[in-house]
């Protein structure tokens, strides 16, 4: 498998590995993929009162490009608004990492993880607003 230097860099030195407190009302969690398919991504974002993503952490079970895709998006997410995050497309991830065609699904999974995490934080915010 001929991987780009960027994939290898993220694989060797993954950024923002870890977890945030899933019970924190400011934290949204997205878990996508399935073990039998060979990849599972867990992405967590912490969103401040201004709607800006302050922190992002990931854990990924998967191939080198799945690890690199999720590591890359944690870098991209920090400082973005939730809506900007939601607009990130898999094609941008695939392009940045120069993913080979058989690995495009890894970038799709990373986009799905962002969308799942954003949906989770919005659901939490809605629940909090309704409770208030």
């Amino acid at each position: 498998m001929a991987y780009s230097d960027k994939v290898l860099d993220h694989y060797e030195n993954p950024r923002n590995v870890g977890s945030l407190d899933k019970n924190d009302p400011q934290v949204g969690t997205g878990m996508v993929g399935a073990p039998a398919c060979g990849d599972v991504m867990k992405l967590m974002i912490k969103v401040n009162d201004d709607g800006i993503i302050e922190d992002a952490k990931f854990k990924t079970y998967g191939c080198g490009s799945a690890i690199a895709s999720s590591s890359l998006v944690t870098e991209w997410l920090k400082g973005k608004t939730v809506d900007e995050a939601y607009a990130i497309k898999n094609s941008a991830i695939a392009e940045e990492l120069a993913l080979p065609p058989v690995k495009i699904h890894c970038s799709v999974l990373a986009e799905d993880a962002i969308k799942a995490a954003v949906a989770d934080i919005k659901a939490k915010q809605l629940a909090a607003a309704q409770a208030a």
Binding site: M1, P14, V17, M31, G38, D39, K59, Y61, C63, P101
Partner: protein
């Protein structure tokens, strides 16, 4: 290792060893192929340059010298496996031997019946030869082995039909190294007048083979897994009782008409020498290899959630196939690129197909994907094994730190019961 080195942490040790090993990865893939033993190479070279004659040339000393070398090698191959030299037919390797045996015997004896029995964990050269016969009107049964990789003799018996003409069962499995009970299977074949073929490509120099006393009719060999050259193999064809096969390669009538084609003298000389060395040294060599394998096994078993694939008792000492749970196969292979091993996962394909052998054992896709085959050989050292253990400990640990599945496992969540979103 010095006291200073012993006090270093794991990561630093691996870093040091990695730096040391920067030239070439450590070779632990002897079941894929072996290096040609230097003693074998030295014997081969004169037959490329000096003694270049065609062994089929009967009218001059060039031919006579080559023929003598070929017959000498035939004797060495026969000696290693307890056969008569006249029962050895040269081929290009085990794939050709398997094809010649299976298609050759099935076609010759097809009037007796058109049903073949084999095992789901056979090498593709057997499975695909049988599939080709199915396409031509034969019927086939592919027996599933037990979870330990061994064939249940009762299931073999139950698969026999009145029209069963041929059975093919390998002696040593290439992926998991388990040894099938070919004596028991062969005896059943004899009782039922079924031709019995055995693929022994992975067995020579690892287990004793005495065809004089084994109920086997056809047996495939190759040189390159026993420190000989690639591109040469042999098929044993029993003379008493005489087994007939239809030639698959037609031409000058070489090898008693069973396999035409000018003999590759230098390759044959190499196979003869390699098998001679195997006969002389295997008893001592296997003791050394077993020690190394057991050391590797115990070292790797210190890692949590590892699973050995295949029975450990009925197994050649050269093989260790082990799955590392909650770690994905391709990322594991990337992480351990300083050792040369095989993976149970064909990750280069888009479909991400796990090993069909491990699937046949009933392993889950995840465990099949995360399996590594370590195969040890003549030139493996204790330092190689020590390095491998440290490397695996460190890299599996690192990948598990990254793995959400490992977190879930540590939190006591049963991953098989989680509802995963399809994608």
């Amino acid at each position: 290792m010095s006291a200073v080195l012993e006090n270093l942490d794991l990561e630093t040790k691996v870093e040091l060893a990695t730096h040391h090993a920067e030239r070439d990865p450590i070779y632990l893939d002897y079941s894929a192929t072996t290096p040609v033993d230097p003693r074998v190479a030295a014997k081969m070279i004169p037959f490329i340059t000096e003694y270049f004659g065609n062994p089929a040339s009967r009218s001059h000393p060039y031919g006579w010298t080559a023929e003598k070398a070929v017959e000498n090698a035939r004797e060495e191959v026969a000696k290693l496996v307890g056969a008569d030299p006249r029962e050895i037919v040269w081929t290009s390797g085990a794939t050709e031997s398997n094809n010649l045996a299976i298609k050759g015997a099935a076609n010759f004896y097809s009037a007796k019946g058109k049903h073949i029995i084999t095992v789901a964990t056979e090498h593709k050269a057997v499975i695909d030869a049988v599939r080709e016969l199915e396409r031509l009107g034969f019927a086939a049964t592919y027996l599933e082995p037990e979870p330990d990789g061994l064939l249940d003799i009762e299931k073999f018996k139950a698969a026999i039909r009145p029209d069963t003409v041929l059975a093919s069962v390998m002696l040593v499995n290439n992926e998991i190294g388990v040894i099938q009970d070919i004596t028991a299977i062969g005896n059943i074949c004899r009782e039922n007048k079924i031709i019995f073929h055995v693929d022994a490509a992975q067995a020579t120099g690892k287990v004793d083979i005495d065809l004089d006393n084994l109920p086997v009719d056809l047996m495939s060999f190759c040189a390159h897994k026993t420190y000989g050259p690639k591109g040469i193999g042999a098929l044993y064809v029993r003379r008493k009782p005489r087994i007939r096969i239809e030639a698959q390669m037609h031409g000058g009538g070489h090898e008693r008409g069973m396999r035409s084609g000018t003999l590759a003298t230098h390759q044959i000389v190499g196979m003869g020498e390699a098998f001679k060395i195997a006969r002389e040294e295997m008893a001592v060599e296997n003791v050394k290899i077993r020690k190394l394998r057991d050391k590797l096994l115990h070292g790797l078993q210190e890692i949590e959630e590892t699973y050995v694939n295949g029975d450990l008792e009925h197994r050649v000492p050269h093989n260790l196939n082990i799955s590392f749970n909650y770690v994905e196969g391709e990322s594991l292979i990337m992480a351990i690129k300083d050792i040369a091993v095989s993976s149970g996962s064909a990750c280069t394909s888009a479909s991400l197909e796990p090993s069909y052998v491990l699937r046949a054992l009933g392993r889950s896709d995840e465990l099949a994907h995360s399996s590594i085959r370590f195969s040890i050989g003549r030139f493996t050292t204790e330092a190689d094994v020590d390095y491998t253990i440290q490397l695996l400990k460190s890299k599996v640990d690192k990948l598990r730190e990254l793995s959400p599945l490992w977190d879930m496992f540590k939190d006591g969540i049963d991953i098989s019961k989680v509802q995963w979103a399809a994608h």
